[in-house]
């Protein structure tokens, strides 16, 4: 117990700073969210046209209501699990300010993580909850009954936390690349497109043909967006749930171990110029 309260006391200021920084940049942050929702509406209308043109009520076992929930939910999950640690870490490594983190009696990844959690508080209250309520109202209007399941939602929360941590450590590993490369801008963009393709952000992985789908579902990217979204929609059986959640946990552990290894190695060869 004492350990936990020590941890909270130690990292609380980081979270607080994260909330303050999110407040300071709220305009650009809300604009970004608005831009993202435009994209959701484009997808919504495309799917609507698809359903109109096919004349059938399901598309590969997804109804129009399913599709709408998927489009908005996968974007929300993208928001919740997105991490800026690649760019922030790379900046700190380049200008040497990473040393300010290292001389503090805190763990480097926890200090970045708890700062970002502050950011997420803002995202959850200003974006996630309103959009989720909107989605549920839509679902109720279309289906005529409450499709929201509290059990699914709780499992979803667990899954999102896992996928955020997973995405955080993946981003951290990319950030550490800055120790070895002069400029990681290109890699950062590349990482973004890889994630958006393989995570199911644009196309539900269930739509890919047999073997491709199986491969994609095993990759760590699927655990970032696709898995939590499908959990929210209640698309998994109990057995599948155990399987996908353990897969998330597995990839999380893998990424934590890799990031610790790189960090340990980079620390030894780190040389900061000037001061």
């Amino acid at each position: 117990m004492k350990k936990i309260s020590d941890f909270i006391n130690l990292y609380k200021p980081f979270t607080k700073a994260g909330i303050q920084s999110a407040m300071a940049y709220r305009t650009s942050f809300l604009c970004f969210a608005l831009g993202q929702s435009i994209y959701c509406f484009v997808m919504y209308f495309i799917w609507k046209a698809v359903f109109m043109s096919s004349g059938e009520s399901t598309f590969m076992e997804f109804t129009m209501a399913d599709m709408t929930v998927y489009v908005f939910l996968s974007n929300l999950v993208g928001f919740l699990t997105n991490s800026d640690s690649t760019d922030n870490l790379a900046d700190e490594i380049h200008d040497g300010s990473i040393i300010m983190r290292m001389i503090k009696p805190v763990n480097v990844d926890y200090s970045i993580l708890t700062f970002e959690v502050g950011n997420k508080v803002m995202i959850i209250t200003c974006i996630f909850l309103p959009v989720m309520i909107g989605v549920e109202i839509y679902r109720y209007a279309v289906l005529g009954y409450v499709a929201f399941s509290i059990v699914n939602f709780l499992i979803f929360v667990v899954s999102v936390v896992l996928s955020y941590l997973l995405s955080f450590y993946l981003n951290l590993i990319f950030g550490y690349l800055a120790f070895f490369l002069l400029n990681i801008w290109g890699f950062s963009i590349l990482k973004g497109s890889i994630i958006s393709f393989f995570s199911g952000a644009l196309i539900p992985l269930a739509f890919f043909p047999g073997i491709v789908r199986t491969i994609f579902e095993q990759l760590p990217f699927a655990s970032i967006i696709y898995v939590p979204t499908m959990i929210y929609m209640g698309k998994y059986s109990a057995l599948e749930l155990v399987f996908v959640l353990s897969k998330q946990l597995f990839w999380l552990v893998v990424f934590v171990v890799i990031s610790r290894m790189i960090w340990g190695w980079a620390q030894k060869r780190l040389a900061v110029q000037g001061g």
Partner: protein, 262 residues
């Protein structure tokens, strides 16, 4: 002449910078390529289940998609610096340097950089148009081709004008990148037939932020022979009106500009 000489100097400077960051360029181009593949796979998956989308065949959608990349690519190639104005040049007070030079600040901003990644966009667009045209056996006449090229150029002007307006907002509020992002995001609607949207969105992308003229309308003229006066003439009118507005906004912004930073 003086302008061309200047432009050449700027481009040479830019190529030097590019050579320094080769890996960035390659990874950037690669990620762009993955994005395009994603979108085409998406369209492919949709068409694996349905014969047409709102009456449009697979290759017609590909044609419109490819068409949308060309004006966007031209604009991206030539005027990418406007994003920097919106995001940080004004905020950091770096805009002052443009004011001290003997050329128009807007022209200077634009010619300062040339974004070669955009060649990927242009190339992909042209390849998709060619493939779709062959599959649909579209008959290209001299008039068709000329009108298509005109529409692409003026389509690019629509993008540029919107970027000028978005960047100019930074003169009042210091940082307008996120606002510009929203304007720009609306161009996503242009990649698909405007007929699939509801009337509100259709009117917005036709008459207010006329991105539908950068791809869907001119493409529908080539594909279906829809009214050329509206489909091609509309591009020119929309581009000129928007360019006029953007120049007014830019100059008003310049007058309101107070240097930031120290």
């Amino acid at each position: 002449m003086r302008f061309l000489r200047l432009y050449k100097t700027f481009i040479i400077q830019h190529i030097k910078k590019l050579m320094e960051y080769r890996i960035d360029f390659l990874t950037g181009a690669m990620s762009f390529f993955i994005n395009q593949v994603t979108n085409i796979v998406f369209i492919g998956i949709i068409f694996s289940q349905i014969p047409n989308l709102d009456g449009y065949l697979f290759y017609e959608i590909i044609f419109i998609y490819g068409f949308s990349l060309v004006p966007k690519g031209i604009d991206h190639l030539l005027t990418d610096n406007l994003w920097k104005v919106a995001w940080f040049i004004v905020r950091k007070g770096d805009f002052d340097k443009y004011l001290t030079r003997p050329i128009s600040p807007l022209v200077h901003c634009i010619i300062e950089s040339i974004q070669f990644d955009a060649l990927g966009e242009l190339l992909t667009g042209i390849i998709l148009i060619v493939i779709a045209s062959v599959k649909l056996s579209i008959k290209f006449t001299f008039v068709n081709v000329v009108l298509m090229i005109i529409a692409m150029i003026f389509g690019a002007v629509i993008f540029t004008a919107i970027k000028i307006i978005g960047a100019a907002i930074a003169f009042w509020i210091k940082q307008s990148g996120s606002i510009l992002q929203i304007f720009y995001g609306i161009s996503d609607f242009a990649r698909y037939p405007a007929t699939i949207y509801n009337s509100v969105i259709r009117n917005v992308v036709t008459y207010i932020i006329p991105f539908a003229f950068t791809a869907y309308y001119p493409a529908s003229y080539i594909l279906r022979g829809n009214n050329p006066l509206f489909c091609i003439g509309g591009v020119i009118v929309a581009a000129m009106v928007l360019l006029g507005i953007s120049l007014i906004v830019w100059h008003k912004g310049l007058n309101a500009y107070e240097s930031a930073g120290s």
